[in-house]
Amino acid sequence: MAKVSIFKAVITLLLPLVCLSFSPEEPTDRRILVLVDDFSLKSSHSIFFNSLRSRGFLLDIKLAEDPALSLQRYGQYLYDALVLFSPSTDRFGGSLDLAAVLDFVDSGHDLIIAVDASASDLIKNIATECGVDFDEDPSTVVVDHGSYAVSESDGDHTLIVSNDFIRSDVMLGETEIQAPVLFEGIAHSLNAENSLVLKVLSASPSAYSADPSSKLSSPPTLIGSAISLVSVVQARNNARIMVTGSLAMFSNRLFRSGVQKAGSPNKYPKSGNEQFVTELSKWVFHERGHLKAVNVTHHKVGETDEPLSYRINDDLDFSVEIYEWSGKSWEPYVANDVQVQFYMMSPYVLKSLSTDQKGLYHASFKVPDVYGVFQFKVEYHKLGYTSISLSKQIPVRPFRHNEYERFITTAFPYYGASFTTMAGFFIFSFVYLYQK
């Protein structure tokens, strides 16, 4: 009895912990590890941290050099997301290193990287592994003489403004960000070979990456809108990564400051930073834009059971349910661009699925007149949403010997010919044998 009760107690203690973690059923992150260079960031970026806390996240803010750092214990990850606000760290404490961070992402966890001009090689390497290349010259920052923020001390135009956002309601929320975003930091570009990385906020065409304290001796390597200010990656396992060259972007100072773009009469009392960062972090931590596809079923028209194989030219019904995570519950996902493929090396059937507005997508079509091992494929990759790639294998067999028509109308002359020949032979034999 005692044993059982202890066991129960352990279970009840552990259960919330288990429930808190990221799971396919509750895709929003819960436990976030924030690594900082020094604890002053706690106060200087408190608005951001508090907004996360108020959304229910458990923040664990630690020094990057903390010797007890560890992302996992006994093979279980302790956190669902990692925020690297420690640009100058060139070695993490504890068991954390480049490979550990990448493994963390590759096992489906999220990552935010924010750096500034003091970015270390380690952090830059992590970004490089995610398809984002920071400017290699450590002295450079983004300078923009065209769209800088107007301020009292008209300095070197390194505090720039940008409102060149990616057009995606899923990532940035449905309310439009009115005020431009203030940015102070270093530039990065996207690796052209990486097909997953996206620019969320890009610099204006007049921006460039250079050392503002020295004269330009050669043309800067990164210029104009090739410079990305904020980028995101949604990995194939739906882990989300956000990279930015400005740690200040998250700071209370820029959150609160008013903004006026040089040459523009519009003056906003508050910059767009808070809205932008909050909305994007909602996306990164899977509060938004997470789809799941369940109950993939297919069967012959008029039947309900899923067959082991189809015959060519069968009519079939295919259905799948797709739900979207709203942050609290699964809501039906409504779209008219979800397609199903009936695929064998190339799609033989490509059909848009119709939805009943309650999450059920459905299509019925005829199996092509080709036998082989087919797959039902739903490949749904929409900007901002987690990608859905489902495939379900199903063999398609040809007709069995007794599934053809027994008698063909056009062949009746031949049937007639055969039978008359038989009859004729019989009569002939009879006459031949018995005539006198």
Binding site: L102, V105, D106, E129, C130, G131, E193, N194, S195, L196, V233, A235, R236, N237, A239, I241, S309, M344, M345, Y371, G372, V373, F374, Q375, Q393, P395, R397, P398, R400, H401
Partner: protein, 727 residues
């Protein structure tokens, strides 16, 4: 008392037996001896094929037999209709294969019937045992057919010799040892049976024998694609008889009923279908069929017309018309596509160099290579010398039957020269013709000895036939040494025959009884080392990979992977889709990143390669690699053979071409091999199969990872990684 009684009974029995024996007439004695010889030959043919079971174990050999075994298992488990309609989604992924419609079901049905009847008789046998012993069983039956065939074309003595020769002839044993569960095992029996029944039908002119021959043909069609040989040889034979003026009513009845019924029966085999009326290979038979009718008509008209001049004119007109109509029909049929042209396989039989230039996939198979002289010697031994002698005897006593065996012998010998594996088809003919030579020679010699004795003893015996008279004539010019030389010649003949027997025994035990799925070698101390790597690898696949995993390998191993590993394969030994095989060849000969794209498009999960560098096993994938390049390049011209060669030379050491050193096959074969010490006194990475130090010892894999390597490195299995998560 009891003992004494028993003894007296025994002696009674013995005396009565001996009395009976004495009482038996000569003819009865002869029958008794003949039957007992046949029984012994029957048993001998069976037991001499059991070496493989004794040496290794009761197992299925090689490649194709595994497919046959798998289908037989399916047939016995699921029944005939399921078998007939079987669509196999586990091979040729993702195309699949309609097994019921693309195989010759004769072998499987035969084995299943044997199995079912044994079960019915309450023998608790496993289907594998039946499959293993099917080929020896049919080899025994073949000896019986050979006896009757020999009897039909010559005499019963020749039949007995033929049965004995064919029972142990290596050319036949190579494809019919226990475990070699392949179509040829039953097909040679069916082939010889069909020929025998047809010759018998021609000799007797009996409708019943022709019908039997049609059924024999049906069995052959159901068992092996080699039936095309029958359907071309018999018309050729008939044509020769027609041209030599040996047309007779017997021939008319035999050929027509055999052809029409055989054709209708053959159409029932799904794989053959309408080929008898639609394919170029079968048109000769149809042409000869119509020619027969023309001959019959001419015969009839000749019978009606007394005027020879008029008949000559009629003959000319009819023959011209018939030939003209035939040619036009063939031309129209071919042009309209109704009659399919000859297949590449058929061309490659007529022209040995055809396959090499046009169809690399046929040329790549070792058993499709032109035959070397040594293998003729190896497979036929003294029969090679007896064959011409037999032909001489056949020509000396020309009849419809001997013409047939001569034609069979000559054509099949030609085909045996074109392809190694067709030695098998030639073997029965060679055995029969050699048997005629042996039997006729020995008969003449013994006759010489016996008549001499008889002459000295009784003076004269009643003549039986003309042969006797001729030997008597021979006797008249006899010389004093004749008897001695006859004895010497007889001893010579027996010496040769005994040498043949030893040779056959040796070849069977040393060369033809290896299952090739388990390899044996001699160790450093002369002990036998067994490499069981294939089964180890297939078992690993079966146990450690997901049920629906797709395995890519060169097609040689496809049947084994599906049968033993129970996993889906991309290509297998049924080489029906050249493009699909070329795609695999292309993947194997591309760089890793290009190969990865191909493998992704085919949903490949595992890649299996066979590698002999550690054990010195020479028929591995590196040695087959040039064929992959050729076959791949035949469809995808981006793959070019010269890229893999250096000055026309194929090498894997430092001098190899860069493409060779970095292609997928090289990387998969030699991954981690550079660290391995294979032979004392040689540098690490010394390839024992090629005898060189490999050129690229630092093989890095980016898109694949090693999953399993067998204990002797013969089979290596790699897992295809999923695409990079962040790129």
């Amino acid at each position: 008392m009891v003992v004494g009684n028993a003894e007296s009974m025994k002696s009674d029995l013995l005396s009565s037996l001996s009395i009976r024996w004495i009482k038996l007439k000569t003819k009865q004695q002869e029958v008794l001896i003949r039957v007992s010889i046949l029984c012994l030959v029957y048993i001998l043919a069976f037991i001499s094929r059991l070496f493989s079971v004794l040496r290794y174990e009761s197992m299925i050999h090689e490649f194709d037999p595994y497919f046959n075994y798998r289908t037989t298992l399916f047939l016995t488990q699921k029944g005939f209709y399921e078998f007939w309609n079987w669509f196999d989604s586990e091979s040729w992924y993702p195309l699949g294969r309609i097994i019921g419609g693309t195989l010759y079901p004769g072998l499987m049905v035969t084995a299943a019937l044997l199995y079912w009847s044994l079960r019915f008789l309450r023998f608790a046998v496993h289907i594998r045992e039946v499959c293993v012993l099917t080929a020896p069983f049919f080899a025994s039956n073949t000896t019986l057919v050979a006896y009757f065939f020999g009897k039909e074309i010559w005499d019963s003595g020749a039949g007995l010799v033929a049965a004995a020769l064919i029972a142990i002839c290596p050319g036949y044993i190579s494809r019919s040892v226990a475990g070699s569960y392949d179509n040829e095992g039953v097909a040679i029996f069916a082939l010889l049976l069909t020929f025998y029944l047809f010759v018998r039908a021609v000799n007797t002119g009996s409708l019943a024998w022709a019908l039997a021959s049609a059924f024999g043909y049906f069995y052959m069609v159901s068992a092996w694609g080699g039936y095309v040989f029958i359907i071309n040889l018999i018309p050729l034979y008939v044509l020769v008889l027609l041209l030599t003026g040996r047309y007779s009513m017997r021939l008319y009845v035999a050929y027509n009923s055999m052809y029409v019924l055989g054709m209708l029966l053959a159409m029932q085999i799904r794989f053959v279908g309408f080929q008898h009326v639609q394919s170029g290979e079968h048109m000769a038979a149809m042409g000869v069929f119509f020619l027969m009718q023309v001959f019959y008509l001419l015969d009839w008209v000749k019978h009606l017309l007394s005027d020879t001049k008029l008949f000559q004119a009629f003959l000319r007109v009819t023959v011209t018309c018939a030939v003209g109509v035939g040619v036009i029909a063939l031309g129209v049929g071919t042009a309209s596509g109704y009659i399919s042209p000859w297949t590449g396989r058929f061309y490659s039989l007529l022209d040995p160099t055809y396959a090499k230039d046009h169809i690399p996939i046929i040329a790549s198979v070792s058993e499709h290579q032109p035959t070397a002289w040594s293998s003729f010697m190896f497979d036929f031994h003294i029969l090679l010398f007896l064959f011409p002698a037999g032909l001489y005897f056949c020509f000396k006593r020309l009849s419809d039957a001997t013409i047939f065996i001569v034609m069979y012998g000559l054509t099949s010998m030609y085909f045996a020269g074109v392809m190694v594996r067709l030695i098998l088809v030639a073997t029965p003919a060679v055995c029969l013709i050699s048997a005629i030579a042996v039997s006729a020679t020995i008969k003449n010699l013994t006759y010489l000895l016996r008549t001499k004795r008889k002459v000295s003893q009784t003076g004269s015996t009643e003549g039986i036939n003309g042969a006797k008279a001729s030997s008597k004539a021979l006797l008249d010019r006899s010389q004093p040494f004749q008897k001695n030389s006859a004895i010497a010649l007889l001893f010579g003949a027996f010496y040769l025959l005994s040498k043949y027997a030893t040779h056959c025994n040796w070849v069977t035990s040393e060369a033809y009884s290896s299952p090739s799925i388990v390899l044996a070698a001699r160790g450093a101390h002369g002990d036998r080392v067994i490499f069981d790597d294939y089964r180890e690898a297939y078992f690993w696949l079966r146990q450690n990979t997901p049920q629906d995993a797709k395995v890519m390998s060169w097609w040689d191993y496809g049947y084994q992977i599906t049968a033993m590993g129970n996993r889906t394969v991309i290509v297998d030994n049924n080489t029906w889709n050249n493009t699909h095989i070329a795609t695999v060849g292309r993947a194997m000969s591309s760089y890793e990143d290009e190969a990865y794209e191909i493998m992704r498009s085919l949903d490949v999960d595992y890649v299996l390669v066979v590698f002999g560098g550690v054990t010195g096993y020479s028929s591995d994938d590196i040695n087959k690699f040039l064929w992959m390049v050729r076959i791949g390049g035949g469809v995808f011209p981006v793959i070019k053979e010269p890229h893999y060669l250096v000055n026309g030379e194929y090498r894997v050491d430092k001098g190899a071409s860069p493409k060779m050193l970095n292609c997928l096959m090289y990387k998969l074969s030699y991954y981690r091999f550079g660290e391995l010490m294979t032979e004392y006194g040689k540098p690490p990475g010394y390839d024992r199969a090629r005898g060189v130090e490999i050129g690229n010892k630092d093989v890095k894999l980016e898109y694949l990872e090693e999953a399993f390597t067998t204990s002797n490195w013969i089979v290596r299995i790699y897992k295809v990684k999923p695409p990079n998560n962040r790129w």
